[in-house]
Symmetry: C2
Subunit: 319 residues, 2 copies
C-alpha cells in the first residue's frame, strides 16, 4: 500500500470534526453463560458505554488523534451517564439536554452469540429541537467536517439532516451523512459532500439490490451527493468520487462482531476529509479500520496495531 | 370463610409497618413479540417500576390501606428513579443513599413467556452500612412490625438481618424475615417473630426436602422463630404458631405469573400482625392475596376485588 497510516502521535490541534448523534444511547452489555428464553439469569458482568453511531465515530476519531466534538441529544439519567462516560474517555462532548430519557441498547452477550434489545428513542419536543439547531449553528463554525449518523428519535422532523447539512454548508463545513430510510432520503436532498450507505441502504435508495460493488458505479452516480462510499461488508468499499471510482477490499474475510464496523469506516473517511488525503489511502484506512473493528473483542473499540497490520493487505482497484 | 376481608377504607393512621429492602432494584420490562437468541429486537414498550422484595411488600400494604414506610439502600440514577417511582405511587420511602448504582432487573416479556436478566447488586461500603443501621434505629422506633426481605448486596455483612432483628426487638417492634441462603440462616439466629420460607428455602434450612406441607410441622418447629409460615406454591401455606398449626390452600390452582406472589403473602401476614388478626384469617388473606398476585397482569400488582373473590374459596385445616 502507498502512503502512511493514520493514528499515533497525531494529536496536534488541527481541523475539527463534529459528530452528530440525535438518537444517542447508553449501550449496556450483560454477560451470561447462556441465554435461555423463559428462564431467569443472574448477569455475571454489566458493562456500560456511551453509544449511538455518531458517538462511536467520535470515539474512533479520538483514538486516531483527530480533534473531535460529539454533539446530539441526551436526556435523563441515561443521558447524564453517557455524557459522563464520554468525558471519562476524553471525548469532548457538547450534547444538548432533553427532558425525556435517552434510550438504552442492551446486548445480552453469550460466549458465542449476542442478542440485542433496542429501546425506543426518547420523544424530543419542538423547543428542544430548536435549541439543538441553535447549538449546532454555534458548534459548526469551529468544524471543518460534520458527520451526521444514525436514526432520528421521535419528535425530530424527518428532514432534520437536510436542515443540518444546509446549516453546515452555510458555515463552510463539509458534511458526511450515514443514516437510513426516510432520514437518509431527506438528508440526500441537501447534497451532502459524502454519503456512506451500506448495501441494504443503497438498495433502498435505488429501488433495487446490487450484488457486486463494481456493478453499482453507474447507479450510484445518480445519487445527489458529491461522493458516495458504499460498504458491501466483506465485499469491500465502493467509492464513486469526482476524481475517480475505486473498489477497496481485504482479500481474506475477518471473523468477529460487525457492530461498529460502519462507524469505524465513517471515522476513517472523516479523518481523510479533514486531512485531504488521496482517495486510495482513505479507502485503505477505511477498509482496515472497519476490519479491525470487526475483530475487536469489545464492539466499536479498535486496536490500532491490528488496523496497521490489516492495512498492508488492502487491495485497491480503480474502476 | 370467617371474618372480614382486609383493604378498602382502612386508611386511618395506625400501627406502622417498616419494610427493609437492602438490595432494591429498578424493575424494567421490555415487551417484544418474540425473543430470538442471537437476533436484534426493537423493544415495543418499556415499563419501569420500583422493585425488590420489600418494596413489593410495601406496595401491597399501601394497596391494603396499611401505613407503611419502605427503607433500604438505593444509589445512582437507578436508585433515584426507584425512589421517585415510589413517591409517584404514594408509597412513603426512607431509603438511605449509597454511591454505587442500584441494580436493574430486566424482564423480556413475550406474550406467553418472561425471560429475566438480574444485574448483580451494588457494592455497599462499611460507612454506608453504618449509616443505614443508624437510620434504621430511628425508623424502627415508629414501627410496630418490620419486614426484612430479599438478598443482601455485596459489602453488607452476611449477618445483617441478625443485627437488624436485634435492633428492632430492642425498639419493641416485631419482625418478619423473608430471605434465603446464608442471609436467612444468620437472620434466624436472632429469633425473628415470623419467618416465611418457601419450600426450597425450607429444604435448605432443614437439609432435606419436604414434599407435603402437613409432613413438615415437626421439622419446622425446630427452627428458631416464634412462628413459621412456609409456602408450598399451589400446595398452599403451612403455619406453625404458638397457638396451633394450620394448612391453608385454594382447592383450585390459579394460572399466571408467580413473581411477586411471595411478597403479597408477606404483606398479608404483616397486615395480620399489626391488626392482631386470628391466624385462620391471616392465612386466608395470605393465600388469597398470593393467588391474586399470580393472576395479576402486571407482576406484583394485586387486584383487591380478585383477592376478595378468591378469599371465599380458601380452605383452612387445623393440624
Amino acid at each position: 500500500m502507498t502512503g502512511g497510516e493514520i493514528g499515533g502521535g497525531d494529536r496536534r490541534v488541527g481541523p475539527m470534526v463534529l459528530t452528530v448523534t440525535l438518537n444517542a444511547a447508553l449501550d449496556v452489555t450483560y454477560r451470561v453463560p447462556t441465554l435461555v428464553p423463559g428462564a431467569t439469569h443472574r448477569v455475571t458482568e454489566v458493562a456500560e458505554q456511551a453509544g449511538g453511531k455518531g458517538v462511536n465515530v467520535a470515539r474512533v476519531l479520538r483514538a486516531l488523534g483527530a480533534p473531535v466534538i460529539a454533539t446530539g441529544l441526551a436526556g435523563g439519567a441515561g443521558g447524564a451517564r453517557l455524557r459522563s462516560l464520554l468525558a471519562e474517555e476524553g471525548v469532548r462532548e457538547a450534547f444538548v439536554p432533553i427532558a425525556a430519557e435517552s434510550r438504552r441498547t442492551v446486548v445480552v452477550a453469550e460466549p458465542d452469540a449476542a442478542t440485542g434489545l433496542w429501546e425506543p428513542g426518547p420523544t424530543v419536543t419542538p423547543d428542544e429541537w430548536t435549541a439543538f439547531r441553535s447549538r449546532f449553528a454555534d458548534l459548526v463554525r469551529g468544524a471543518e467536517v460534520v458527520v451526521l449518523s444514525g436514526s432520528l428519535p421521535p419528535g425530530v422532523p424527518v428532514d432534520a439532516y437536510r436542515a443540518l447539512i444546509e446549516a453546515a454548508r452555510e458555515a463552510g463545513a463539509r458534511t458526511m451523512l450515514d443514516s437510513s430510510g426516510e432520514a437518509l432520503r431527506h438528508g440526500l436532498t441537501a447534497g451532502p459532500d459524502l454519503v456512506k450507505p451500506n448495501a441494504e441502504e443503497l438498495a433502498g435508495l435505488l429501488g433495487r439490490a446490487l450484488s457486486r460493488p463494481a456493478e453499482a458505479v453507474g447507479a450510484v452516480r445518480a445519487l445527489k451527493a458529491r461522493t458516495v462510499v458504499a460498504s458491501f461488508g466483506p465485499e469491500g468499499l465502493l467509492a464513486v468520487t469526482e476524481r475517480g471510482s475505486w473498489h477497496a477490499l481485504l482479500p481474506h474475510p475477518v471473523a468477529g462482531n460487525p457492530t461498529g464496523a460502519g462507524d469505524a469506516c465513517a471515522a476513517a473517511l472523516a479523518h481523510g476529509m479533514i486531512h485531504h488525503r488521496p482517495w486510495p489511502e482513505r479507502l485503505a484506512d477505511a477498509v482496515a479500520l472497519s476490519a479491525a473493528a470487526v475483530r475487536a473483542p469489545v464492539a466499536g473499540r479498535v486496536d490500532l496495531s491490528d488496523y496497521r497490520r490489516l492495512r498492508r493487505d488492502v487491495t485497491i482497484k480503480e474502476l
